[in-house]
């Protein structure tokens, strides 16, 4: 993916020009050129296939999926051991369903891998996404990625518990008083 901010582990975020992942919008679009590529497959299409059709795809093992924001994240559970990347979609930045998907993936399914935001991903929402468990961001391609990086350091105070800081501020207040 292009325009990518990657591997955001607490302090360290960088612009990743070497991202190997190839986004596959639909299974029909897979062709010979993808033979050695690392593919991000459409999860919704994939689980609609039966087991024999899934085998026919001949992509083993599957390491990355992308999900639409209306997909129940629990459906990913059987696949998570094999996966290294899950991409969650923001069709418009004002549609916030993927925030909850990321929280569920981290908090309920305890998945430690890479969660990537893609779609209408913009500077002013990066901090919220990061706090909800996203750790890479495919910035909308017409936007400047260096500029977007600044979005990760906007407001340092967060009252509520979050994936990033599981202790809400009220449990930390006295520690620093």
């Amino acid at each position: 993916m292009k325009n990518l901010i990657s591997h955001v582990n607490s302090e360290q975020a960088f612009i990743d020009h070497q991202d190997p992942w190839v986004y596959i919008e639909s299974l029909d679009l897979i062709n010979a050129s993808h033979a050695k590529a690392q593919l991000i497959l459409p999860f919704d299409e994939f689980i609609a296939l039966d087991a024999s059709q899934q085998k026919l795809l001949d992509i083993q093992p599957i390491k990355a999926f992308w999900l639409s924001n209306s997909t129940d994240i629990q459906l990913l559970a059987p696949f998570l051991n094999e996966l290294v990347l899950v991409c969650l979609n923001f069709p418009k930045f004002t549609d916030g369903r993927a925030y909850s998907q990321a929280v569920e993936l981290r908090s309920h399914l305890k998945w430690p891998g890479e969660i990537r935001a893609f779609g209408d991903v913009l500077r002013d929402q990066l901090d919220h996404m990061h706090r909800c468990g996203f750790n890479s961001f495919a910035i909308r391609e017409d936007k400047n990625v260096e500029d977007a990086l600044k979005g990760l350091s906007s407001i340092s105070i967060n009252y509520s518990n979050s994936v990033l800081e599981p202790l809400p501020l009220f449990r930390r207040r006295s520690l620093y008083r």
């Binding site: 509520s160 501020l169 009220f170």
Partner: protein
């Protein structure tokens, strides 16, 4: 009242810097209108008919005198010298320049205020009743819980782009004076008789607007410790399943209605079981920390024999006391309600800078420097000792704020309407003024007694017209302004929606129509019967008959 510590202050300061940067990026073209609009809305900034409007948060309606003085300064420096108090206990400035907004927000932050999430599809300013902490009939002070919810919901990263706006109200008295049941989530606090613990009943899916619905009980017996985790579960389920294809069907009330409250509550329960024992569970230490800000131990136990004398000697004063005060939990004190609706020359809810300063001074001199905003758009000084009331009242008269009409027909809730608002279908303020002109005799008003009249300029229902005893709704018919009238609405624990009496009227006929409705009520009421009880008993037919009998012009 609550006072900011290092963290609270740092958050609002950083928010000002963030918004300053966003305004600059919008102005130099880095942010499109579409990208900027949700950012400004989450800072309370709307683009209205004539100018930007800034809605400043007054969390659960509580202001210090210092804050009110700052609002006066903002009104004078950046607006046209006045502000408009709203039904969500906030204040709006109607004539704001975008360039000034970062400076205004910095001024607000300097007095521990902000405009965060007063708009947008996120959790809005949490509200409670204006007499919280002082009402004689209060069970538990709701303010610490409201403040805890304020903090939890402020920039809560998961819930900033919900399907639609989300309003929470808290109440804990024998009456409900916070319109709890017309909120997305309403919380009733009570003390469990068995274990003496503070518990909550959670009401869900209320709201007015296009599809008015009174909320239903979602959960009873919730421990206060589970308040935030339960809200988190509700919001997550709503974020996941609320409709996003149609903004008029996107509120939680539509979701609750479509799947049923039982199914919705099961879904919430399932989510809550996963998180109820997480660090999000509230602690005794935190509740005590927040609650300690609301303790007032400075009440006097003084004599007030002069007060009894003043009541006897000055009937205007006695009248004002009877109508504009509320029972206080502490002996010798009353809460005072200052009407923002003195008459037709003053749009309901509007207060000018000079009056704001005068009220702040009076609150410092005769009370504890605190002011409340009611959801009926009036101001409250929560605690005044009876020995000081007469001097206080005289001070109010000097600022033309001693109108004696609380809870009466002229104390009408009115939205800004077509004069300001770009959503409005019709004007509200001139209709309110015309009704006030018609009912200008205080003996007539006193004879009518308690009667709520709410005027909204469109079906978004900012003035809660559905739950007014008489509700007036502005509608647009082929470019002309018409007014639809409902009767029998009621707020409170037994909240209910009014019924439409028939076809709409032109603006010029509204005062006469109201007059006729009131006449029918007076002719039929038995003893002290309330307006809505009378409507319940006799039905709407007698009202209809009287109103439509003569040839008033109604919409075709």
């Amino acid at each position: 009242m609550y006072q900011y510590d290092f963290y609270d202050q740092a958050l609002v300061d950083q928010r000002v810097r963030q918004f300053r940067d966003q305004v600059e990026r919008y102005q130099n073209g880095e942010l499109s209108e579409e990208e900027f609009s949700p950012l400004r809305l989450q800072n309370g900034l709307y683009l209205q008919k004539h100018a930007y409007m800034l809605r400043v948060a007054i969390p659960y309606g509580t202001l210090s005198s210092k804050q009110l003085t700052m609002l006066a300064e903002i009104a004078q420096t950046y607006d046209r010298g006045y502000g408009h108090f709203t039904t969500r206990q906030n204040i709006q400035f109607n004539w704001i320049e975008l360039n000034d907004v970062p400076a205004i927000l910095a001024k607000l932050a300097s007095v521990e205020m902000h405009s965060i999430q007063t708009s947008g599809n996120c959790v809005r300013n949490v509200t409670t009743e204006a007499f919280a902490g002082v009402a004689a009939d209060e069970i538990i002070d709701p303010r610490p819980f409201a403040e805890i919810i304020r903090q939890w919901s402020t920039i809560n990263p998961e819930f900033l782009f919900l399907p639609r706006k989300f309003k929470i109200a808290v109440s804990s008295s024998t009456e409900d004076r916070a319109a709890v049941r017309t909120h997305d989530i309403g919380l009733y606090l009570y003390r469990d008789r068995l274990d003496d613990e503070v518990k909550l009943e959670v009401m869900a899916g209320g709201g007015l607007g296009r599809t008015p619905i009174i909320s239903q009980s979602l959960k009873k017996g919730l421990s206060w410790r589970d308040l935030l985790t339960y809200l988190e579960a509700v919001l997550r389920v709503y974020n996941r399943h609320g409709r996003r294809d149609n903004k008029y069907k996107a509120r939680i009330k539509i979701l609750v209605k479509s799947i049923g409250v039982e199914a919705f509550s099961e879904e919430v329960e399932k989510e809550w079981q996963l998180i109820k024992s997480s660090p999000g569970e509230l602690t005794e230490e935190e509740l005590n920390r927040v609650a300690s800000h609301f303790v007032n131990e400075n009440y006097l136990n003084a004599a007030y024999s002069d007060y009894e004398q003043q009541l006897v000697e000055d009937s205007d004063f006695a009248n004002w006391i009877a109508i504009n005060t509320h029972e206080h939990k502490h002996q010798g004190y009353l809460s005072v309600i200052i009407s923002t609706k003195p008459g037709p020359e003053n749009p309901p809810g509007d207060v000018n800078a000079e009056q704001m300063r005068a009220i702040a001074d009076l609150a410092d001199t005769y009370s504890f420097g605190e002011i409340r905003v009611t959801h009926e758009q009036n101001l409250v000084i929560p605690s005044i000792h009876k020995k000081d009331l007469y001097t206080f009242w005289n001070g109010l008269k000097d600022t033309r704020m001693a109108a004696t009409n609380i809870g009466m027909l002229t104390d009408m809730i009115t939205c800004p309407g077509g004069d300001y608002c770009s959503l409005a279908n019709a004007k509200s303020i001139p209709v309110a003024a015309a009704i006030q002109k018609k009912f200008n005799s205080s003996s007539q008003l006193q004879n009518i007694g308690a009667l709520s009249l709410n005027i909204s300029g469109c079906m978004n229902a900012c003035a809660h017209h559905h739950i007014g005893n008489i509700g007036i709704l502005g509608v647009d018919k082929n470019g002309a302004e018409w007014y639809q009238i409902t009767i029998g609405g009621e707020q409170g624990i037994d909240a209910r929606l009014g019924k439409v009496i028939g076809p709409s009227f032109g603006a010029q006929d509204v005062p006469d129509v109201i007059d006729k409705i009131v006449d029918v009520y007076l002719a039929h009421r038995e003893e002290d019967e309330s307006f809505s009880s009378t409507v319940d008993r006799i039905g709407i037919a007698p009202f209809k008959e009287k109103v439509y009998s003569n040839a008033v012009e109604v919409e075709a």
